[in-house]
């Protein structure tokens, strides 16, 4: 079995590089220099992380090692790993691109992504460390019917993971295509194959260290870029903003909230999904089981919030500085964006940039740090995608092996060896699925998928989790109905929204513009309260014997949740 994975994965891994080696060597001279620096730096990263995976594989024996790195990660390390898990290429490239295109609006997104962290700290982090073992479903099913709640939690986890994964894979394929000149499918296969190697052989230990290394590289690279960019403005933000306003076609409008958030309902709905979605993402919640106790869990959130907040401030500086600095580099723009004297036409600044606004951070790296730094940032962007997809896949695989297989199908009678084998097979399957979906969705508009993943996490996972921790009257039936209502309403409302009904399914109005059946862009404002409401009403109406037992069991759960007494079993070997 093991040999089968090894060969399958290695072959898949080497294929793209073998195929690309020839064109890279004989390719056009101009592009070759840039590609080779980036590819060498990336190969150094891959070699390093494969070394770590080899080391981690020797230490990964028990299920606890595989799912939680043995529970021996410190709060500081976990804080970095959480930051590495959370700061996706989409936030690095997407938000700096958004700031470049719209200015202040980019900050609104960053803030939404960040403010979920204090909520996790106050309501969830310590609690799930004290109550759970490997997955957040351990916590939401703690005193409830295992079959029902685990099945539901596993399904909503897998749906969240699938949408998040597709968005990452498509983004990865396009990005690597641009950066390294690899074909789209090769890029997707390379990402999928490497991710399978990390997770299958190194489990959570390898995943954690890939995330830590990536976080350090990304923070260091972004810091250098922001400082180098700021130095051209004499380290004066006012000077940077002044020149940006002079350069940008939207002029002063970039300094205040603009078109991104048009009406209060959509603004609040997006805010809810971003804030509470973070607290329901399975791959993020899983990270809290890698630390030994509640104290380290809360320290991890503190460090993670600091790193992530700092990172968003950097992307904001990078986006604004790029407005001014990229306009001085006509070579980054399409020929039609240039005037007769070779300068960039003001109105073409946003539309005319080669590779689109997602490439802004990459172009700025070249502008401030030359070829070598461009190679570094490109490699970091690739590493970023790898770290995020590895975390996602591990969370998906554990939902299959720990929740569905061990608790539901085998009803607790499976042994560790089987459970680990199932999760490795699940990882392999999810990896193939991610590659397949990544290729299938190449030319699809996947922008809505991350939003949908956050909305489902906020509407299905978060309500059940937080109510199971704090509300003693909740019952299995309440949790089941509430969670399903949240999941289904979030998906249905997203399908009816403009992003899917119009942009993906191609429904247009009389003028040929894509339309939605409902005016809501993000479903959270409806689906999240619906979920809470059904948890509440169904639990209150539940007078079964089982419901009575579950209410009585809350006291013991709360004592363990508050004090950690009884949680040691999940900590010691």
């Amino acid at each position: 079995m093991k040999r089968f994975y090894l060969w399958g994965v290695l072959l898949a891994l080497l294929a793209p590089f073998a195929l690309v080696a020839a064109p890279a060597v004989s390719g056009e001279v101009e592009r070759q220099a840039m590609n080779i620096t980036a590819i060498i730096m990336f190969l150094v990263f891959v070699a390093g992380t494969l070394g770590i995976t080899y080391w981690a594989a020797k230490r990964t024996r028990s299920a606890k090692d595989f799912y939680t790195a043995g529970g021996g990660i410190t709060g500081f390390q976990n804080g970095l790993a959480i930051a590495g898990d959370f700061m996706s290429a989409a936030s690095f490239l997407g938000i700096s691109g958004l700031v470049f295109a719209s200015g202040y609006d980019g900050l609104i997104y960053s803030i939404g992504f960040l403010v979920g962290w204090p909520i996790i700290m106050f309501l969830i982090a310590e609690q799930i460390r004290n109550l759970g073992k490997f997955t957040f479903a351990d916590v939401s099913s703690y005193r409830f019917g295992q079959t029902q709640i685990r099945t539901m939690a596993a399904i909503s986890s897998l749906v969240v993971v699938a949408f998040y994964l597709i968005a990452q894979m498509v983004g990865a394929g396009k990005l690597i295509q641009l950066l390294f000149g690899l074909d789209y499918w090769m890029a997707v296969v390379a990402v999928g194959a490497l991710m399978m190697v990390y997770v299958i052989f190194g489990g959570m230990t390898a995943t954690t260290w890939v995330q830590i290394i990536k976080a350090v590289l990304l923070l260091a690279g972004a810091t250098f870029m922001a400082l180098a960019a700021l130095s051209t403005f004499g380290f004066s933000p006012e000077e940077m903003f002044r020149q940006a306003v002079e350069t940008h076609p939207k002029a002063l409008a970039i300094m205040s909230p603009g078109s991104l958030v048009t009406d209060p309902v959509n603004a609040i709905s997006l805010g809810l999904a971003l804030m509470f979605g973070t607290a329901g993402l399975p791959h993020i919640l899983m990270r809290f089981f890698t630390v030994p106790d509640a104290k380290e869990a809360r320290k991890s959130v503190f460090y993670a919030t600091g790193f992530i907040g700092y990172f968003y401030i950097l992307t904001f500086i990078i986006g604004f500085a790029a407005i001014v600095l990229l306009s001085q580099h006509p070579e980054f723009f399409k020929p039609e964006a240039l005037a007769a004297d070779g300068a960039v036409i003001k109105d073409q600044l946003i539309k005319g940039i080669n590779g689109g606004t997602n490439m802004v951070a990459i172009r700025l790296a070249e502008a401030v740090g030359g070829n070598l730094f461009l190679g570094f940032i490109s490699a970091v962007a690739f590493a970023t995608i790898l770290a995020v997809v590895a975390g996602l896949t591990l969370a998906g695989a554990s939902a299959i092996s720990h929740d569905l297989y061990a608790s539901v199908i085998a009803r607790g009678r499976s042994n560790e060896t089987t459970e680990i084998r199932i999760s490795k097979i699940a990882t392999f399957g999810l990896g193939l699925l991610a590659i397949g979906l990544g290729i299938a969705f190449e030319s699809q508009n996947v922008a809505f998928m991350v939003g949908l993943a956050f909305a489902i996490a906020a509407s299905a996972n978060f309500p059940v989790l937080v109510m199971s921790i704090f509300w003693g009257k909740m019952t299995t039936n309440g949790a089941l109905v509430g969670g399903l209502v949240g999941l289904i309403s979030a998906v249905v409302l997203t399908v009816l929204s403009k992003a899917v009904w119009g942009d993906v399914l191609g429904n247009v109005n009389a003028d040929g513009k894509p339309i939605g059946l409902i005016a809501l862009n993000n479903p959270a404002i409806i689906s999240m309260p619906l979920s809470f409401f059904f948890i509440w009403i169904v639990s209150l109406l539940d007078h079964s014997e089982q419901a009575k037992r579950e209410r009585i069991a809350f006291e013991a759960q709360r004592i363990r949740c508050e004090t950690g007494i009884g949680a040691e079993g999940a900590v010691d070997h």
């Binding site: 403010v115 700290m121 106050f122 205040s256 209060p264 503190f302 401030i313 363990r560 007494i565």
Partner: protein
């Protein structure tokens, strides 16, 4: 957990203190974060021009900039406040309960 130890812990005065003080503290901080964030979102939704006010006469920088960065810093500071109190007060209470039980 055994029923008698559940009752023993439940009746422990320190346990009551721990549950109450942590609950109040955590929910208060949650409310502060929600007020800060949704205050910001509502300002964007209903009064976008407000955040576009220059910070000084003739400046390009708007008050929205320090406010936005301030919210990011406030999130970090709030988590720091929680960690500081939990590491000292809540952990001390938990330790006392555990020692009494042994």
């Amino acid at each position: 957990m055994q029923l008698d130890s559940v009752n023993a812990i439940k009746a422990h005065p320190r346990y009551q203190e721990l549950v109450c003080s942590r609950k109040c503290f955590a929910w208060n901080l949650t409310v502060i974060m929600l007020v800060i964030y949704y205050g910001f979102i509502l300002a964007i939704a209903f009064a976008p021009a407000l955040l576009g006010t220059p910070i000084a006469e003739g400046a390009v920088t708007t008050i929205g900039m320090p406010i936005g960065v301030g919210i990011i810093i406030s999130a970090f500071v709030l988590t720091g406040i929680y960690v500081a109190k939990a590491n000292s007060r809540f952990d001390a209470l938990t330790k006392a309960i555990r020692e009494d039980l042994q």
